[in-house]
Each structure stands twice: as C-alpha cells, then as structure tokens.
Symmetry: C2
Subunit: 479 residues, 2 copies
C-alpha cells in the first residue's frame, strides 16, 4: 500500500497534537474566563453549514484552526461552574486523558480476548458491588441510561415472554404492562415503544406530594390491569427524576414487585449514585433488590459523554435476551477469538468502543468516596438554595429538593401563562447574558426555572450569583 | 465547593498528559514492532480481576502505569497491518486527536443550540450527498451499524404501522414481515427481535452462487407471505456481507421494493463506502434509491470506535419515529434550549457524545477521494490474493472476492470436520505466533480462514507473509 493514513511528517503531527492538548487543558483550566453558553454567531453557523463535501484533503493545521474558531468557542459549556441545565456532567481532565488513550488503542470491545474486555468486566463488577448485587449479576456499559433502560426493559420482556418473544415477537395477547410514575424519564416509555410493547403499555402512575410514585395507586393499577386480562410484568422505579430529582420509595416498589412476581427495574440515571454518599444512601434504599439498574457515568461520575451502564441481577438471563452466535462471530477456546461470553451477548451493539477506560481511570484516580463527598455537598447546597428561595418571596419553590435539583420561579402577580412566559424569559436572559445556564421544566403545570447542582466546579458563590440575578432580571423584564 | 475534580497540580497533570500522548503516538508509529495480538498473561488477567473496588483515590501516575503495563500491551490490535480479523477499522492519528478534543469539550449532542450539533448536522448532510439522497433526507450518527440498522427497522415499522405502533405496540394481526438474505448480518434479525417483530418475521432469503440475495426467491417469498395474510414491509439489502463481502443487487431490490410498496433499507456496514471509489461504485448502484442506509465510520473511514450512521430519505418520517417532547426537554426559540429539532428526535439515545468531531476531522483532513483510492487498492489486493489462492492448491477459495474479504482454507485430504478443525487451528496458530490475525467464518458449511483487507497500513508484503504461513503451518500440524 503506497502510504496509508499515518502522517508523512510525524514530528509536525506531534507538535500539533501537543499544542491541541495544551489548548484543550487551557480551556478547562480557564473555564471561568468564558460564559457557560454563547450563541453561535450567524456567520459561524453559515460557515459550518456551507462547508462543501470534502473530496480533497486539507492541511490538518487548517482543520484544527477551523475547530478552534468555529466549534470550540460555541459549546453548551457543561464544564462551566455556572452550568445548571438538564442533568449534565462536567467532565474531568482525567476523563480527557483516558479518552485520548482509548482512541489510541481503538479497541472494539464487542468481544474477543483482550485487556479492554477485562477492564469493562472489572468496572461492571465494581458497580455490582456498589449496589450490593450478587456474584451472579452482570451488566454492560452503554452510551447512557436511555440505552440502559432499553436493555433493562428487553431483559424484563424476555423474562416475562420466554425465549420465543425474541423469535416470534411480542404477542399482543400476552398483554404485557409496565408501571412507572408520571415523573419517570421519557426514555422508559421510549423503551416500551422501541421494544414493540407500545408506550401506552407503560402505565403512568400518579405521584404523591414529593413527586414520588404513589404506591397505593400502583397497587390499584396493577389489580385493575390484571382484572382486565393484562399481564403486568415490570415496575420501573425512578431514583432521581429528570424534572425534580424525586426518588421513588424503592423498598415499597421492591416489595410490590416481589409480592406480584414482577421484574423490578430502577432508572437511576443520576440518583443511583446517591448510593456513594453515606448521608444519602437511605434515599435509594431498596436499589439492592432491583432485578436491573440503569445509570449514567457521564453525569455524577463526570466521565466524558457518552457512558452509562445497566446491571442485571441474573447474568444468565441477561445473556439469554441478546446472545446470538453468527458464524463470523464464532468463539474459540484459544487465540484472539476466545473470551466467551462477549459483550455483544449483553446488548444490541456489535461493535463497541472502549467506554470502560475512562470509567476505570475515573474510579481509580479519584476513588468512589470522593464522589460520595461531592454528591453529598452538592445536595446540601441544593437544599440550602431551596431554603433561601422559600425565604425570598416572590421566589417560590415548586418542588421539594430531594437530591440536587432545585425547581423554582419568580411568582409575579400575573396570570399563569404570563408568569410562565416571564420565567422562560428569565432563563433565556440568564443564558444569553452569560450569567448562568439553568434549564426549564414544568411542575404541576407551572413552568419552573430548574437548577441541577452537579458540577464539581460549582461554588456557593456561583449559586448565589445565579439566584441573585433572578429577581433583578424579573424586575427589569416587568418594567 | 472545596476542591472539585480538577488537578491541584496542573503542571504535573500536563506533564503526564503530554507523556501519555507521546506514548500513544509511539504505539501507532511503532505498530510493526509488536504482534497484532498477544494473549493476556495469566498474572495480568488475575491482577485486573483482583483489583478491589476503588474507594480511596490513587495517584494518577500509578493508574497510568497500570494502564501502560496491564492494558495497552494486550490489545486486539486492529491498528496492526497484519490484523485481518472480522471487519475492524485501523484508526488514524487524526482520529486520536479529534477524540481528545471531543473529550475536552465533553459536549452532549442530544440537542440544544451549540456548534457540536451543527457539526453533526453537516456530517450527516455530507453523507446524504455522497449517497445521492435528496435535501429532505436526514440522519443521525450512532455507535455503529447495529444501532443504525435498528433505527432503520424502527422507521420502517413506523412507516408501515402508523403513529399508533409507537403507543399501542406492534399488533400481531398486522403480520409485518421483512426480507434479507441468509448472508445478512445478525444485527438485522436482532433489530427485528428488539423491535418486537420477532426475528422470525425477517425472512432469510436464499443466495445465489455469488452469495447475493436471490431476487426470484425474494419475489416468491413475498408472494407467499401475502397469500398467507402477512404484510411484507421492508427489504434489507446487504452491501458487503460480514462473512464474504457479498453485495446484493441493490437495483433489483430497489425495483422490488418500489413495485410492492415496501421500505428499502441497505445495511452497508462497510460495503456502502465502495461508493467512494469510482471503480467500485457500480457494485453498490441502487443504494441511492434506498429509504434508509446504515453504515459504519469506524470501519473503512477508520474513525475511532464506535461511530456509524443511519440516513433516512424522508427526514420528517424519521423524526415521527422517535420525537417525543418531555417537559424537561422543552425547546426554546432563543438561548441554550433553541436548535429544534434535536438529535434526540432521531434515535433512542437522549444523551449523546460528540462522535461527529472525529468524523468531521477525518473527512476534512484526508478528503473522501483518498478513502476511495485506499478502498479500491485494498479490493484489488484482495482480488489478487484470491487469484493466488486459486493458483496454489491445496489452498481453496471458498467465496468469490467481491470487495475486500477473502475466504479460503487449506483443503487437506481429510473429512469435513477434520478439515474444519485443521483450519481453525491454523488461525489460532497464526494469532498465537503473532504472525497475523485472521478470523473464521463458514461458507457453505465449511470453516473458512477469513481475511478482511481493510487496514490502511497493510502492504502486499503483509498479505504475502500471511498467506505463505498457511501451508507451512498446515504441514506442521498434519505431521
């Protein structure tokens, strides 16, 4: 082969790569010098959009320059200490290092016998230990909790429907129904949709005043479905709802699932990691009784996007929901094709990147106790913020602060729609002025300003500055 | 917050990161000095497996040292010029650089208004142009073709079943059936399984002598299913089968789909990229008529794992198969939450990493013409290898060389099972001796030694050395 894709001038490549590494770390180290978000200028958006299909090569330095001027400055900067939107992890320098190493190895962790597979196995085992699952449990890393919830639902579907559900499909006559609260994440209903059960087969159970699944309503709904000839098969508990951080009573849900012979899946996208903090662990008590647990590593573990995991108590059942040995993926006793079972046996992906390396580096370097401390501190800051909001009318707290999410609004003497619009506008102003990035949600129909206190760089001063800006902007907008 | 997760000593962190970068590039630059695979020593496997749950922190340098001694040396080294197993891309230094930059930004490309989203949009548009899809087409990057095939099947399911299929599930009465060849990749049947249609609803249509879907058999099977009250809804064409690189007659499949009102999906995991080589483009003619196309970017584009894509001719229909607006993901006209539609509207993932950056860097730096040249050269080398095998009995070519995959075996005068075992053992010896890494498959029931000629570092000498070793090892084993 006359010249592959390696550089003809390695020295020049290395020089550029080292410069890019320095500038990458500069951006993290100097994060406070920039706003947490800024709009893409029209000319930049147009330049990206007008860039023609690259048939011919370009100088790498020119491509890097385009990245540095058109891409890097216009981030949704979840690295920033005043980024409070949605549920975004902040990343760490250790994660950057690990991703660079993973890209260097370029391992396909779908299977075969190599160290990357062993690292993912180790990481999965560690998390099984964190959540108190038995040695027969297993799991797999995913791109995030959406895929992890899908895998959980598919294993539960396999448990309820038997092996033939994989070949013959989901018989409507089976009438499989599942249960989650009205506050459950949309990815759970989407998993029902994808899995051919239909999102309506996931019953949306009402919540109590703390926005937790109402267990009495759950019992009633399961009984009603059984009376109607349906076959309830899974209860999905939420540990940390996306809107407000609410945590269902997982012990009650585990009891209900046990008594009725249902699968118990926990969507713990971020809340599951409360398990790492001794002062918060009680909130997620019962998670150790789950049949499957889905959670993210790019949120409260701050691993780079996208990394999540699903753990399944019965590892053999997990494999029975996915394993499928094509002749070109035959396993061997020796050589490169050894290492059975392969990770392709535990999820829908056949080629898979080395997501485990950044998880392994992060867990080992910082230690899980450190994450427990940070999570506890962030939840304490969120509770204090909630108390300050309660004490500062017309600010109004819209949901109890269970974990790290604070939902509130400026309760101006306006009608509901006007007040919603005012608060949506406050959020836009906070973002556009570069003060902070909250997101919005709706609590009891009301639009809420939503702060997710998760970033390890966030200080009390960052929260104070953000909250101080709200009444000031509100008064300005009302004038 | 008293101390987040940023280094207390940035200078020390930077020094380590620069050293790690150099060693990462050294490993690529010196790839020929190592074997393409070596078994993990028992003591290393035991050390990884005995590593206790890390509660306390560790020095980053110690973690890096563990990586450098326990992980990096024991790769399935698809970077290596004599790695011919499965269908693995080789990676590039440009990809390593881009992944480092992406990890630095730590963007969540699920949605919102930021440059990473614009880059993914651009990349998708470029690929639509490559395949001749109209401006109304769209798509999304995935972790690979398995997920891309799943998305294709879900959009086809939505097209056939209407909006209610998402909420009410897949009615068995609808009798949806799909069609792919017996050589189609297992991820297509798995997509049917996951989607609740059941893998048996994907009819395995026989192949012709070139291992291409037999179009007459397809017509007959569709007619038989219609007569039996089924509802045929999708034809899946294979552009580059995993076993032998066979390419279906996509024009005939497009005609069949058009005439019968079926969705036409192309699984082009690696073969779709033949489109980039003028001398090979005719092989995939008809791909421009597909309703959806799934392909990998970590294979013949050598982007780091895992990156693939799915393109859908009808972008609006694509969104209708996934879009679902939860209150905590509300779109705004201004600010950070602008940018509708979001990529969460086009697939099952809600959090998504910045896979697009390495694709963008790779396409721009090398230019697509360069990939076309490499692909054409590799296919020419594979054809020449096939000719050499035919001319060198008892080596026997087991499948026509359509693209870059060569399936052959040492046809010793043994019974079938013994000959299978001999060839499986030859593959293990090639791997364990560090000569080369082929994989195996079965062609017409016979175990084949399978070489995938895809690595941009592979030379004719690498192929010659590999092929020369086969009779030598065979004779040694037969003695």
């Amino acid at each position: 082969m006359s010249g592959g894709l390696d550089p003809s001038d390695w020295a020049a490549f290395r020089a550029l790569a080292h410069r890019a590494l320095d500038e990458t770390l500069d951006a993290v180290d100097g994060i406070r010098e920039r706003p947490p978000w800024r709009a893409i200028p029209d000319e930049v958006r147009a330049a990206i959009g007008a860039d023609p299909l690259p048939r011919a090569p370009s100088d790498l330095a020119a491509v890097y320059a385009a990245f540095a001027t058109q891409v890097a400055p216009f981030a949704v900067d979840n690295r920033h200490p005043r980024f409070f939107g949605w549920v975004h992890g902040a990343g760490t320098p250790v994660g950057i290092l690990a991703e660079m190493l993973a890209a260097g190895m370029n391992a396909n962790v779908g299977g075969r016998d190599h160290a990357a597979v062993e690292i993912e196995r180790r990481v999965i085992r560690w998390w099984c230990e964190v959540f108190g699952l038995p040695p027969t449990a297993g799991g797999i890393l995913t791109s995030g909790t959406s895929m992890a919830n899908l895998i959980g639902v598919l294993v539960a579907r396999r448990a309820a429907g038997g092996a033939e559900v994989r070949t013959a499909g989901v018989p409507a006559a089976l009438g499989l129904t599942g249960y989650a609260s009205t506050e459950a994440h949309g990815s759970v209903a989407r998993a029902f949709d994808v899995a051919g059960l239909g999102s309506a087969a996931l019953r949306a159970v009402p919540v109590d005043a703390k926005l937790r699944l109402d267990v009495r309503a759950l019992h009633a709904r399961i009984a009603a479905d059984r009376d109607a000839g349906k076959r309830p098969f899974v209860i999905v508990g939420t540990a940390g709802s996306a809107s407000s951080g609410a945590v269902d009573d997982l012990v009650a849900l585990a009891d209900c699932a046990r008594d009725r012979g249902l699968w118990f899946h926990v969507d713990g996208a971020f809340g599951a990691l409360a398990q790492l903090a001794p002062e918060l662990r009680g909130l997620v008590a019962g998670i150790e009784r789950a049949d499957s647990i889905a959670f993210d590593l790019h949120k409260w573990l701050h691993v780079p996007y996208g990394a999540g995991a699903v753990l399944v108590r019965d590892g053999a059942l997990h494999a029975s929901a996915f394993a499928d040995h094509a002749p070109y993926l035959a396993r061997a006793q020796r050589g490169t094709a050894a290492g059975d079972p392969w990770f392709t046996d535990f999820g829908p992906e056949l080629s898979r990147g080395f997501r485990a390396l950044s998880v392994w580096f992060t867990m080992k370097t910082y230690g899980l106790d450190r994450f427990g401390e940070l999570i506890a501190q962030q939840c304490a800051m969120a509770r204090a913020l909630g108390e300050r909001i309660v004490a500062t009318p017309p600010l109004a707290l819209l949901a109890p602060v269970t974990l790290n999410v604070v939902c509130f609004r400026y309760a101006a003497p306006l009608d509901d729609a006007e007040c919603d619009a005012l608060n949506a506008r406050i959020v836009v102003e906070l973002q556009e002025r570069g003060i902070a990035v909250p997101s919005t949600t709706r609590i009891g129909g009301k639009l809420a300003i939503r702060l997710n206190v998760m970033n390890h760089r966030t200080t009390q001063a960052d929260l104070d500055a953000t909250l101080d800006a709200v009444p000031a902007i509100a008064r300005e907008l009302l004038e």
